[in-house]
Symmetry: C2
Subunit: 328 residues, 2 copies
């Protein structure tokens, strides 16, 4: 019995090491070393529309954890029904990105979390107002005191706890990861053919690592220009360099079956079409229908464990809490 266990263990280590060394994609690691009280506070804030001026829009409105961490819209709806300029990227596995937003203008999740709160076309509030609201709510005062040792809430504490919650939103245990970790039956031959095409065609040059993307900026439209009505300029807006025009952070392909519509302008809802466009514009490849279908089949094996927790209950406002202002 012990002998058998030893053999199995050695085999598992061998598989893990060999796949880790030879595959350009790595399995999503589960969450380790996290502050649970901070996660719970961040989860409440993530779902709390009182961080918006209207009292109607929360982080979860556009990064909906029931829908792959996105809103499944080409561009988002913001305060006053403002039309956003760019597709909302998924929050799932976003801790694995080299930077946040399509143009990488936020260094990390904490830096990102403050953006939408104070963006007039998104949540439409200000950091000062958002903090003022939280400071009046006894349930939050208690939680912040527990986590940060003080009731003097700051925007840094707010974004820190939201970011910590977001760090838990990784999606391990996809069929592809099971295959990577040694379960050779976790994906079928058709899906495996798709993965081999994904590698041999060059997709993997940009879509690699744990997140299958998210770790570099690349020009959208290398071999052919990308046709779009979107005015987004990408990295150039951050660096000011003409060379960086239309360079965007390569999106993660984890859970891509759930994160439609695709591209920074959300131009297509079809994964088949997205694969076709990427092949032609980025690689100069015209995938046959069969090849395309194989790649799509592979991509669908990247759907992992979705967020799994109780709907949070938010502490009620009190008489002194600043009122939401949806219509003025």
């Amino acid at each position: 019995m012990k002998y058998k266990l030893l053999l199995v263990s050695i085999f598992a280590i061998f598989i893990a090491l060999s796949s880790a060394q030879t595959e350009p994609i790595q399995a999503v690691a589960p969450v380790m070393d996290i502050n649970l009280a901070e996660v719970e506070l961040g989860k409440m804030l993530y779902f709390d529309p009182r961080l918006s001026l209207s009292g109607f829009i929360s982080c979860n409105s556009c990064h909906n954890l029931s829908m792959g961490g996105t809103d499944n819209l080409p561009t988002s709806i913001g305060h006053g029904w403002a039309q956003g300029p760019i597709n909302a990227p998924t929050v799932l596995n976003s801790s694995l990105n080299l930077a946040q937003f399509w143009d990488g203008r936020a260094l990390d999740l904490q830096d990102q979390a403050g953006g939408p709160i104070a963006n007039p076309g998104e949540m439409g509030s200000t950091h000062a107002l958002a903090v003022d609201v939280l400071k009046t709510i006894p349930g939050y005062v208690y939680e912040f005191k527990q986590v940060y040792g003080t009731a003097d809430i700051t925007i840094e504490m707010v974004t820190d706890s939201i970011a910590t919650f977001e760090e838990t939103l990784v999606t391990p245990n996809s069929d592809f990861d099971k295959w990577l970790l040694g379960d050779s039956n976790a994906i079928n031959d058709y899906e495996l053919a798709g993965y081999n095409l994904f590698k041999s065609s060059g997709c993997v040059a940009c879509h690699n690592g744990q997140a299958v993307g998210g770790n570099s900026f690349q020009k959208m439209g290398i071999l052919e220009p990308y046709q779009t009505t979107s005015s987004a300029e990408g990295l150039a807006g951050v660096t000011g360099k003409d060379l960086d025009r239309f360079k965007f952070k390569v999106p993660t392909l984890r859970n891509v079956e759930l994160t439609y519509p695709y591209f920074h302008d959300g131009a297509t809802y079809s994964l088949t079409e997205a694969v076709d466009i990427m092949g032609r514009l980025q690689l100069g490849k015209h995938f046959t229908d069969e090849e395309n279908a194989q790649i799509v089949a592979f991509l669908k094996t990247l759907t992992g464990d979705q967020p799994n927790f109780n709907l949070p209950q938010l502490p009620p406002s009190v008489a002194q809490t600043p009122h939401p202002k949806p219509f003025n």
Copy 2:
């Protein structure tokens, strides 16, 4: 041992009977006899913004189960940021209402559920479109087949399952209910004084039963006219009778601490002010600050168990699914 158990049982029955017979408010009964598969389907639909034209608004947007089953806004935000005409009532314990909506124009929860989907100023879709969307989604087709024995989804199945989910949204185990059921320490003397005032002042004439309201229509502004900019006419809009002008369904006071702002026009966020206005306009009573505070303390004992379930995961759309149209 058996003798002791018998005594305890007799005592429990005595308490239950005596309080049931003498108190005008009854404890919220937990859910019994419910179809769990229907509940799970209804829960997904309740959280699914694809029932709206924009793909952005779900039942949960305005009847938010993280926030007392309401949006905590005076009037709701609908399609295109439309301003709703009336305060969104809580969905919690709504199965106990004699009818739905403030004017009672829907007979039951199933009748109600179809309203917002097709209201141009709410979810902005049509029943036909909502059903067309669901029919293309394999995950839903499977669920409907499981529950209704057919994949030929109808709007009646949609509203039936949403209503069944909503029937689970009762909130038993409030401190007041524990007191009603015999735990004399569940509320303190101050709260009990508030309850006695609530009864002796006449509040209980309209706010009674399991839901502490929800079981009659009453005129808003009996002894003094109610000042409001709202154009809502109440029951008269349904019956056509002049006598029914400004008659509204008496709202439930269950979880009233969470369901601010108050009244059909959401005129006040303050429970203290709401009690004051109700006393003067409906009963001709001017509560002292102390009396008001006691009544408010009693009302806060009506907060029961909030919805407690995992955030639902929604089945993804496919290429054939009609796209949401947020901006046209």
